[in-house]
């Protein structure tokens, strides 16, 4: 079944709230999932795969060590810690023109993609590198509402469960040798026209979690909550 972006976002929002994410953190996490689903990254499936590490385990606090650009996520989800980290790095970009961040013990680096795309109008250039679950090196380049994914002949050392993020307030000479995928407002409009198509089994799992946020009806609440009385004349 096909769904609108709004439906995916709202259902994810309710699911995050149902899993214990506070106001604001639930909005950021829902944005991540809906954006990934819209752009054919299987956001809903990824969320289902993350349930075990986030459900009733919300922990959004980030501790920064002496080297503020090396972060140990300790296998905690980017859905919980990612938004605040990206904000933090973006705030550092004012002091430096370019920053390089290494994030270790990161299980779900793909959740950084929507966050970096979202702030791309604010910063000139950013780059995300990680190994996916098949140990394939993933490289994403972000420039003002444009994402390019592809291959590079540049030697970039990266370890398993490690993420490299480079942010720059100047254009970077880095380029991809082969662009395998581009995302822009135009491709997103095309995807909106086709609607979103999450796997139905995954969707039902998320819908069920979203239902935790609903209040069951009593006759009293039906009458008081929505009005009643002379309703048919």
């Amino acid at each position: 079944m096909r769904y609108s972006f709004y439906e995916v976002y709202v259902t994810a929002l309710r699911a995050f709230s149902g899993m214990g994410f506070p106001y604001g953190a639930d909005e950021d996490a829902a944005f991540i999932i809906a954006w990934l689903e819209l752009n054919n990254f299987n956001g809903i499936k990824l969320l289902v795969n993350s349930i075990d590490i986030i459900d009733n385990r919300y922990s959004g606090e980030n501790k920064i060590d002496n080297n503020e650009f090396i972060i140990n996520l300790k296998n905690s989800s980017v859905l919980m810690k990612g938004p605040a980290l990206i904000d933090y790095f973006e705030s550092k970009l004012g002091q430096k023109k370019k920053i390089e961040i290494i994030i270790n013990n990161c299980l779900d680096a793909h959740y950084f993609i929507p966050l970096l795309y979202k702030i791309s109008p604010k910063i000139i250039f950013s780059k995300l590198i990680y190994l996916n679950s098949n140990n394939k090196k993933m490289i994403y380049v972000f420039k003002k509402n444009l994402l390019q994914a592809g291959l590079s002949s540049h030697e970039i050392a990266i370890e398993k469960k490690q993420v490299k993020i480079i942010m720059s307030s100047e254009d970077d000479l880095f380029f991809l040798d082969k662009i395998k995928r581009e995302i822009s407002s135009s491709t997103m409009q095309n995807n909106l026209a086709k609607s979103l198509n999450p796997n139905i089994e995954d969707w039902e799992i998320i819908e069920k979690i979203a239902q935790r946020t609903f209040v069951p009806e009593s006759e009293e609440s039906r009458i008081k909550g929505a009005g009643g009385g002379d309703d048919n004349d």
């Binding site: 709004y6 973006e90 705030s91 909106l192 239902q211 209040v215």
Partner: protein, 557 residues
């Protein structure tokens, strides 16, 4: 230097608003006339009792849209205005493009089910409407006997069909607004919804005339224009509308800001033109007559209407004195300030919207810019101390509330399990408060303020550093920072208070839609009419497209 925000966004003021030239129903009709949109009845396949399918095709310069109408029999006992209803007399969708048989079949399977059905990205609006038990059959009876219904009976109800929901923006699989505004004519909020409602009104009259004809082909007549034009399309509206205002603060700001910009430009005009002023006095008389004629059984609304009628009379007398002394240095600004100092909120608003009627060149371009990107962002570099000062300046109404008092946290907003609709519960009398929706902005601001003020060690941190440690404040900080540049984004009242009247929020939003004839049925839901007094498509022209506000029974003579 931070500026104090104007106090236009208290609940009482919000609940005193009236439709204006900037309302979406008005701007949609103007666009229809300006671009010469054509409406044709492409299909009218109804049986003698009025059950079946109709399609109204709308031809715009670049695109075709189809309003698909399904009419079905439902037993009396199944007819309900409540959102929990599952059957409706009629159901509708606005489809982008000419309708194909395949799409019509798909929609026939889904649209009558409403929330239980599915739409596609080609559908922009979905709605349903029930027949007015008081009026629908009565009008058919009259027409089939060759008679016209009495306009007083029309005025007592106001519509033949009453919508109970008008959905858009991605609901139930429909097109997301971010797509709609790029790919269709409807770049402004709620224009597509208003178009659908306008054509449903056309259908309501076609429907009664069709049934009346088949009841008595030799005698049946059509509705005369003056009776017809007084008919609007009804709408029952409940709490579902209220959270929208809180969840879309930058959009709400844009609506209010355009309205205030209109008034501010008018206030700059130094002298009042005498001819224009006479027209204004006529508009005040029309509004007074409307208030005297409009019917409601709700005591609160009755009093509001009565008091406004009394005050309007005083304004009229005041203005008549001014007009006798033409040539003096009176201005619209002075008149507005006189009303703000002497009359109730409803009267002030009526005066303002009627003044705006006189200045289409100012108001109409602003009415075409009511949209907003709705980007809410975090300013990572602001310090906590600066945020505290911002809160003191912009949210003084919130930080001065004592939330330890039960009356100030009496209500909570939640989503009901049965229909996924927003509801209002009583925190200390009902279950479910632990699942409260984050709509109590005043309380959240208050909590953040007290937390930060009592933790001086955070005052030098910037927001990014603070949120690393305290992510639970992420949502409210993003809101406060974003709205620091939006004077009208926030309701400046505690909506969790026992004294909150949710109707005020509904009326605020409905006024921007262009709804009239407010008829509250409780403190949480009401009935209104859309397009009451507006010309039907056959008579619509540039001469009458903007002359139907505050329609009265003698407006069509």
């Amino acid at each position: 230097m931070l500026q104090k925000t104007p106090n236009h966004m208290t609940l009482e003021r919000m609940g005193s608003r009236y439709p204006s030239r900037l309302s979406f129903s008005r701007s949609m009709l103007r666009e229809m006339v300006k671009e010469n949109w054509k409406i044709i009845k492409a299909k009218f396949d109804l049986d003698k009792d009025g059950y079946g399918t109709a399609v109204y095709e709308l031809n715009t310069p670049n695109q075709i849209y189809s309003l698909v109408c399904f009419s079905q029999y439902i037993p009396e006992e199944d007819r309900s205005d409540r959102v929990i209803a599952e059957k409706w007399d009629t159901s509708y969708t606005l489809h982008s493009g000419k309708i194909s048989e395949k799409n019509l079949d798909r929609l026939r399977q889904n649209i009558p089910l409403q929330e239980a059905g599915r739409s596609s990205a080609n559908e922009l609006v979905m709605s349903r409407a029930n027949k007015s038990v008081r009026l629908f059959e009565k009008v058919i009876e009259c027409l089939s006997e060759g008679l016209q219904p009495n306009i007083k009976e029309i005025n007592a109800v106001g519509y033949l069909l009453r919508t109970t929901a008008v959905y858009g923006n991605g609901k139930f699989g429909m097109s997301d607004f971010v797509r709609t505004k790029t790919a269709t004519h409807f770049s402004q909020p709620f224009r597509a919804e208003m178009l659908a409602v306008y054509i449903i009104r056309e259908f309501s009259v076609d429907l009664v005339e069709h049934v009346a004809y088949h009841k008595n082909p030799s005698k049946a007549v059509k509705l005369s224009n003056n009776i017809k034009q007084h008919l609007g399309i009804g709408n029952s509206t409940g709490l579902g509308m209220a959270p929208f205002i809180i969840k879309h603060p930058t959009l709400i700001h844009q609506w209010m800001s355009q309205y205030e910009k209109t008034l501010n430009e008018i206030k700059l005009i130094k002298n009042i033109d005498k001819k224009q002023f006479n027209k204004f006095i006529k508009l005040l008389h029309k509004a007074k007559l409307y208030l005297d004629e409009v019917l409601t059984f709700d005591e609160y609304q009755k009093n509001k209407n009565y008091n406004s009628s009394v005050d309007l009379n005083k304004v009229i007398k005041h203005c008549e004195k001014i007009s006798l002394n033409a040539g003096s240095a009176n201005s619209w600004k002075e008149l507005i300030e006189h009303c703000e100092n002497n009359y109730n909120y409803d009267t002030q608003e009526i005066v303002k919207v009627q003044i705006i009627e006189l200045f289409p060149s100012i108001a109409d371009p602003l009415a075409n810019d009511m949209s907003d990107e709705e980007n809410m962002g975090i300013d990572t570099k602001q310090t906590i101390l600066s945020l505290i000062n911002l809160i003191k300046n912009k949210y003084d109404w919130a930080i001065n509330i004592d939330f330890k008092k039960k009356n100030n946290t009496y209500l909570f907003w939640y989503i009901s399990e049965e229909k996924l609709e927003p509801r209002l519960g009583e925190r200390y009398n009902e279950k479910g408060a632990e699942l409260e929706q984050p709509l109590g902005i005043g309380k959240m601001v208050n909590e953040l303020y007290n937390f930060a003020i009592n933790l001086p060690s955070t005052h030098k941190l910037n927001i990014a550093e603070f949120l690393l440690k305290f992510p639970e404040f992420r949502g409210i900080i993003r809101r406060i920072q974003t709205l620091s540049h939006y004077d009208y984004g926030e309701i400046k009242d505690n909506i969790l208070s026992k004294q909150t009247l949710p109707l005020n929020m509904l009326r605020f939003k409905l006024s921007f839609f262009g709804a009239s004839r407010y008829d509250p049925k409780s403190d949480r839901w009401l009935r209104v009419s859309f397009f009451a007094g507006a010309p039907f498509y056959d008579n619509l022209s540039s001469n009458n497209v903007d002359s139907w506000g505050f329609a009265t029974m003698n407006s069509y003579n």
